[in-house]
Symmetry: C2
Subunit: 332 residues, 2 copies
């Protein structure tokens, strides 16, 4: 009898502890569910770009992954391997077919991807644009550089380098919207805020090192008093640097470029390029994923069901010079 | 002996279960810690405004509270009860003295709060601006309406209402930056995109109903063909509505106003005001808290320790008309 009593006691204890523990785990589960900023690993968010292999996207993807880790969701990276708009459309269509939890797209054409983007949104897949916008698409938000402001920032830096006096030129890519905006921001700021400075010419470098170098050589010979050149993208900046080196102008000519690829950083270290504009690419990726997560979990709809996500996020610009160039080599 | 054996068995079982359970709770705790987007309730974030009692802030505070709930942190609401810049500075100083986890500030003056804001940032307290910016302060970001864009949106709506033809006027507050920007956006869009429309005059309504009403009566008598008036803020809009009613012009004159206070919504219901621009005030509060949390938890610093938060977030504009006005009464 007494043996049995002990067995009963042991079993009852076990049962009580089991129930207690079960309740505990229930509480824990309930807390996870209530806590809104945690997804599940089955939830896959996809980043879609073009020229997928270039270094430029690494930091955007890093931000995308960092946010995914914080939110406990999964990510994938897809896109066009080449600079080919049809390839990017196909890649996006393939991603849509899998009905992921959300898609962040950087488009190489402000119009061509719209039908695919709109199809995704209509199918209930959250889409945001980053870095390069498709303004007339149904994507919920754009997260990227305010290029006009970035041009203005470059102009202020140029004015500082030249003590607010002298002639400057611009090498740009006149058929791409973001480059037009950078050029406009630079030009307008010079005109409005620095009366002793003049933008003498704007030349087309076509995003190519050699063409930009030749355009710079022309500028230098046409304007012997030229004190500075602003290049609106990285290849152009390196081309300008090559022209300055060829003419032994690397000390007298101040060059401001854009982005932080290795060629540009090397020329900053060598003192050929004075400064370059670093974009907030990690932030583009980070907040893209945050926004997609908020859309997927209905954390951003108003009482009438309308989405109320900020439509435009400027991820800002940092100025890189000889002083802080070391930091930018290590950023991947 | 056998009795004792059972007691031992029972005790051993209890111990095993205890250890198992303890390990389980360890795992749970570790998961909470690893999960970066969860704070503690001791962490207090403060929203600071002016005229703290007005309805306008309710939605911003709602967004601030929603984000706090999602992130498991606490919030407080402080500020100047009056439209008094010294009172707001004092309120901000008192908040700083308590060293909270972060402060979101909407300033009634783009300069006057800068010393206090900078003091907070230097003391290691994250600060972001929302709704009304202090652009030269050390605050990390501004989250609010892009007022130039909002004016442009109002211009497009006006063009739609008037079939892109006719004379329009503007009633504004010419000494406040956000109103200047709204006016500029409206004016420039009309000029650039609607060649058959003319902005005939811009009058000062001083943010006051009666002064705006009188200014509108002048506009109406000076320009008998006037087809529309854009008011850059809510009191002005109601004043324009009163003038239209007095002149029996409520059917022939299209009025576009700003914000969604009860007086404006009532005039939309009555068909006196055609449309008003609703700001994303909930989003200002929501993303302000998110940004402060990210600053507090060092989730936004780059390899070199520099903060990399998006410096500027446009929370967008929604157009409210007779069709959707009902939804906006219920928003608090």
């Amino acid at each position: 009898m007494k043996k049995l009593l002990f067995i009963y006691l042991a079993l009852i204890s076990l049962f009580v502890i089991y129930v207690y523990q079960y309740q505990n785990s229930e509480t824990t589960n309930r807390e996870w569910e209530e806590h809104e900023l945690r997804g599940s690993v089955d939830e896959t968010y996809v980043m879609v770009t073009f020229q997928t292999g270039i270094d430029y996207w690494k930091r955007a993807l890093k931000g995308f992954e960092d946010a995914a880790e914080a939110l406990n969701v999964s990510v994938e990276y897809r896109g066009a391997t080449q600079y080919d708009v049809n390839e990017e459309i196909t890649a996006l269509e393939q991603v849509i077919a899998k009905h992921p939890a959300g898609i962040a797209v950087s488009t190489m054409d402000p119009e061509a991807l719209n039908p695919a983007i709109d199809k995704a949104v209509e199918a209930g897949i959250p889409v945001v644009m980053f870095d390069a916008d498709a303004p007339d698409s149904k994507a919920y938000a754009f997260i990227g550089t305010d290029n006009y402001e970035a041009g203005a920032t470059a102009a202020h830096k140029m004015a500082e380098l030249l003590d607010e006096t002298g002639q400057v030129g611009i090498i740009t890519h006149p058929y791409q919207l973001n480059h037009q905006e950078r050029t406009d921001g630079f030009h307008a700021t010079m005109k409005q805020e620095y009366p002793k400075m003049t933008v003498v010419d704007i030349k087309d470098g076509r995003g190519d090192q050699m063409i930009s170098k030749d355009a710079s050589l022309e500028l230098i010979s046409e304007y012997p008093d030229l004190k500075g050149i602003f290049a609106s993208e990285a290849n152009g900046g390196v081309g300008v640097g090559m022209a300055a080196l060829e003419q032994n102008k690397e000390d007298s000519l101040h060059i401001i470029s854009f982005d932080t690829d290795k060629g540009t950083l090397d020329m900053i270290e060598e003192g050929v390029i004075s400064a370059t504009m670093a974009q907030g690419t990690r932030e583009m990726g980070y907040w893209s994923l945050q926004f997609l997560f908020h859309l997927q979990h209905n954390l951003v709809s108003d009482i009438n069901g309308e989405t109320t996500l900020p439509p435009h996020v400027d991820t800002g610009i940092k100025i890189v010079t000889e002083e802080n160039v070391k930091d930018y080599y290590s950023i991947e």
